[in-house]
């Protein structure tokens, strides 16, 4: 099959964040009139690549050419001016503004220097019609729309710019099945109109349905490009595997048969349409992993356990007794003894302007208070002990938390919760964006906590961590437990296959247990 000359070509582009190499001299060519699917597991570099194309991130090196000419997109506006439109996973809409305002946000038609509201509305309506979302009224405030409708507005907004290249990053993940069909039909139409489309998705059947070409990324590098439909699912999984195992994990103890009820048990937990009938049990001394692609309900599951979600159905049991967790405050109470290391340490974990010491003691502040007044010497001693125990590198306990490196900030968040002496530790991707050394310290710490009798539920987007740390892994897909892997079954292949909701790879993985690392 002849592939037409590429419209956008990326050659040898690299990008590092701190010490982490997100893109390692990656190549990609996108041609007009074709849909190019980009695949890869979490952290393979897909999103960074999109951000380079969109002008959001400046690459450290490499070459980007468009229609044969060198281009440099230093800002998102420059990329847009060149005809590149992006639809990102994180929505870029302003919730307080109307749909029409959002669609025409930086190119509203003017009359005498003022926004021409009528023409703006006409254009917005045209864009919505082109996106096939005529049911959305242009005057609705975006915040009143459900997520699936917002995603359609996002698509209309991209189309209103008349792009030559359209990049979609997980654009269908929030959509209903009917909308997905409409979006796929729309994408086919756009392709026939001669647009070049880059399509990132984890949904294999959508990729099979729509794409013309596929490129697989691994470790920040493109490892294979092939015409769609020429490789089996099994071959695709093989190509996606192959991350190096750089981390040293502490040895796992032999499974212990505990007596009595498990420390934490869930039965049929559901919440809106994000969590569906989840059952889980974690014994004292056990590390239970949550796997799967990002955004399949893992975060919601941890928040539900920690009392941050309303309207849960199902049962949560702690040490055999059914409990109701109404707020994080109740969750951390001695009766339940839970701790949650949140996903985003900067907004949910730390008070950045406050000192390291104040952050560390904050969750356990009651322990150091007499009649409501803080016993500063007792607090200070406990803080010093925690800083030594976790070897947090800080000039002084009085320095603001904002002044620490990412790894040390994460240690502060973990230390803050260890000070409450938790019996159930929930972790939401705790090693994201931190250095390898600190990661190893965290692995060792988790195992030590488990050995000391805590039950640990650990969500990670890094499959290597799940394999290296966990006694058991629950793989979530679309809010459901897709598969539970125990002990030797926890292999990268089994994890990826069940994360992609493929049965072929999983079956193979069961035939060959154990994995050379």
């Amino acid at each position: 099959m002849e592939i037409p000359a590429p419209l956008l070509r990326i050659e040898g582009v690299s990008k590092s964040y701190g010490g982490v190499r997100a893109l390692d001299s990656a190549d990609l060519s996108i041609a007009a009139g074709r849909v190019h699917a980009i695949l890869g597991e979490n952290g393979a570099g897909k999103s960074t690549l999109m951000k380079v194309m969109a002008g959001v991130v400046a690459p450290d090196g490499g070459r980007v050419t468009m229609a044969g000419r060198d281009v440099v997109f230093s800002t998102p506006a420059a990329a847009q001016a060149a005809g590149i439109a992006c639809i990102f996973q994180e929505l870029s809409l302003v919730p307080e503004l109307s749909v029409a305002d959002n669609i025409m946000i930086n190119r509203s038609p003017k009359r005498f220097g003022l926004i021409d509201r009528r023409r703006q509305r006409e254009r917005a309506e045209a864009a919505l019609a082109r996106a096939g979302a005529v049911d959305i009224h242009p005057r609705t405030p975006v915040k009143d729309l459900p997520l699936s409708r917002r995603q359609m507005v996002e698509i209309a907004k991209a189309l209103a710019r008349d792009p030559r290249i359209l990049i979609l990053d997980e654009a269908t993940s929030a959509l209903t099945a009917a909308d997905v069909e409409r979006v796929l039909a729309l994408l086919r139409r756009l392709r026939d109109e001669g647009l070049a489309l880059a399509y990132i998705s984890h949904r294999m059947h959508e990729i099979a349905e729509i794409s013309d070409d596929c490129t697989i990324f691994r470790n920040g590098r493109n490892v294979a490009t092939y015409p769609s439909g020429t490789k089996s699912d099994d071959e695709v999984v093989e190509l996606m595997i192959g991350r190096e195992y750089r981390h040293v994990f502490p040895p796992k103890p032999a499974p212990r048969l505990g007596d009595g009820p498990p420390r934490l048990e869930l039965r049929g937990l559901s919440w809106t349409n994000r969590l569906k009938d989840i059952s889980l049990s974690a014994a004292a001394g056990e590390i239970v992993g949550l796997g799967g692609l990002d955004g399949q309900g893992q975060r919601e599951l941890l928040l539900a356990l920690f009392g941050a979600l309303r309207g849960l159905t199902g049962e949560i049991r702690v040490e055999g007794a059914t409990v109701r967790v109404g707020s994080p405050r109740q969750a951390k109470h001695k009766r339940l003894g839970m701790a949650l290391i949140p996903e985003d340490r900067k907004t949910e974990g730390l008070m950045l302007p406050m000192s390291v010491g104040q952050n560390l003691s904050f969750a356990a502040l009651r322990t150091y208070a007499n009649l409501g007044f803080i016993d500063r010497s007792a607090e200070g001693r406990a803080i010093d002990e925690m800083i030594v125990a976790l070897s947090i590198r800080v000039a002084r306990v009085g320095s603001p938390a904002a002044s620490l490196s990412g790894g040390n900030q994460q240690k502060v968040v973990i230390g803050k919760w260890l000070m409450t002496a938790p019996r159930i530790v929930l972790l939401n991707d705790p090693t994201r964006g931190i250095d390898v050394g600190t990661k190893q310290e965290i692995y060792v710490l988790l195992r030590r906590l488990a050995d000391a009798g805590a039950a640990i539920v650990f969500y990670s987007t890094d499959y290597a961590e799940l394999i290296g740390c966990c006694d058991r892994v629950l793989v979530l897909y679309d809010g459901r437990v897709k598969r539970t892997l125990v002990g030797e079954e926890i292999t990268e292949k089994a994890l990826i296959a069940s994360a992609l909701n493929l049965d072929v790879g999983a079956a193979r993985a069961e035939r060959t247990p154990g994995r050379a690392s």
């Binding site: 994080p328 949140p342 406050m354 904050f362 208070a369 409501g372 009085g398």
Partner: protein
């Protein structure tokens, strides 16, 4: 040596407010015809304490990243109440004082409940309640005045000079700071108030009592504004429902708080800084008097000095390399 420098860095904004105040007051006294005498200090202190108390009230709320636009009206309401209740013999006056302070605290508590349970934005809730408090004050005192048996001896005591020429009002201010601010800043709930201002989400996810902390700051703000109102009654021997003075004190309290190094984004600063901010701001106004400038120029001059002092605090932004930090 190192410890000393860290202490300096942590208290930089409070010290800066103190330095601005000292500089202003130095210029003021240096050019005052009477010079540095106990009387000059007493007059300045009596005037300054009013704004200092209202600024302390504002600080409480600002620490949680809120703002209280009703402090000035609570101040005026308690002034009017005081003109009725600070009367009669010592026992009656004492009970009256407690009632006035309770009314101030109640005004604050209402704000707190509206913000916490009504989920109103602090600025909106307090604009509304401020109007209500002023309405009550006006209803109570349509015309300025005081009770016939107003206890002026009691009032005089708080505006007099103590042994050694120290103004009683300053001592009272220090006592309020010691009794209200110091315990607050050292309590678990006070720490929670700072945490709410730094990152309410983090505070919530830490299982901190954020509702109790918010309720406390608004209530304390009402109480402190009430103490300010009582002092106004002491100074004027009367109550007056003056819309102008309520509005002015509200706005000046925000200026004083900023001058005192309290971040309007919440989470940092101290009421001690705000006290010096208030005293400095008052002195700016008095400077015009000693330089014999027409009073017409006072607002303009105050504005310029305020801008200049706040700009000093913004100089750290010049060194910011990552533009995203500007929004943090």
């Amino acid at each position: 040596m190192r410890e000393w420098r860290f202490w300096l860095a942590e208290n930089r904004s409070t010290l800066a407010a103190f330095a601005i105040f000292v500089a202003m007051f130095w210029i003021y006294v240096g050019n005052h015809p009477a010079g540095f005498t106990a009387n000059v200090v007493q007059t300045a202190a009596n005037k300054g304490v009013l704004l200092a108390l209202v600024a302390m009230a504002q600080t409480m709320v600002v620490i949680t990243a809120g703002i209280d636009l009703s402090v000035g009206m609570t101040f005026v309401l308690c002034n009017c109440l005081g003109s009725y209740l600070l009367a009669g013999d010592a026992w009656h006056t004492g009970v009256g004082l407690l009632l006035v302070l309770a009314a101030g605290a109640a005004c604050g508590a209402v704000n707190g409940l509206l913000v916490i349970f009504g989920r109103l934005q602090p600025i909106v809730a307090t604009i509304a309640t401020g109007a209500i408090y002023f309405g009550l004050a006006l209803w109570m005192r349509p015309d300025p005045g005081a009770a016939d048996d107003f206890n002026s001896d009691f009032a005089d005591f708080f505006t007099s000079k103590l042994a050694g020429g120290i103004p009683a009002s300053l001592v009272s201010l220090a006592a309020v700071a010691l009794v209200v601010w110091v315990p607050f800043s050292r309590s678990a709930i006070g720490r929670t108030a700072y945490a709410v201002g730094s990152s309410e989400l983090s505070a919530y996810m830490s299982g901190a009592p954020i509702r109790a902390a918010k309720f406390l700051v608004y209530t304390l703000a009402g109480l402190l504004a009430g103490i300010g109102g009582v002092f106004l009654t002491f100074l004027t021997y009367s109550g007056e429902a003056s819309s102008a003075s309520g509005g002015t004190y509200t706005l000046y309290s925000i200026a004083a708080v900023v001058l005192g190094g309290v971040s309007l984004f919440g989470g940092s600063g101290s009421a001690i800084g705000a006290i010096f901010g208030a005293l400095a701001f008052r002195t700016i106004g008095d400077l015009l008097f000693v330089f014999d400038i027409e009073p017409l120029w006072q607002p303009l001059f105050q504005g310029v000095v305020l801008l200049a002092s706040v700009s000093i605090g913004a100089t750290r932004l010049i060194g910011v390399r990552n533009r995203l930090d500007l929004f943090g």
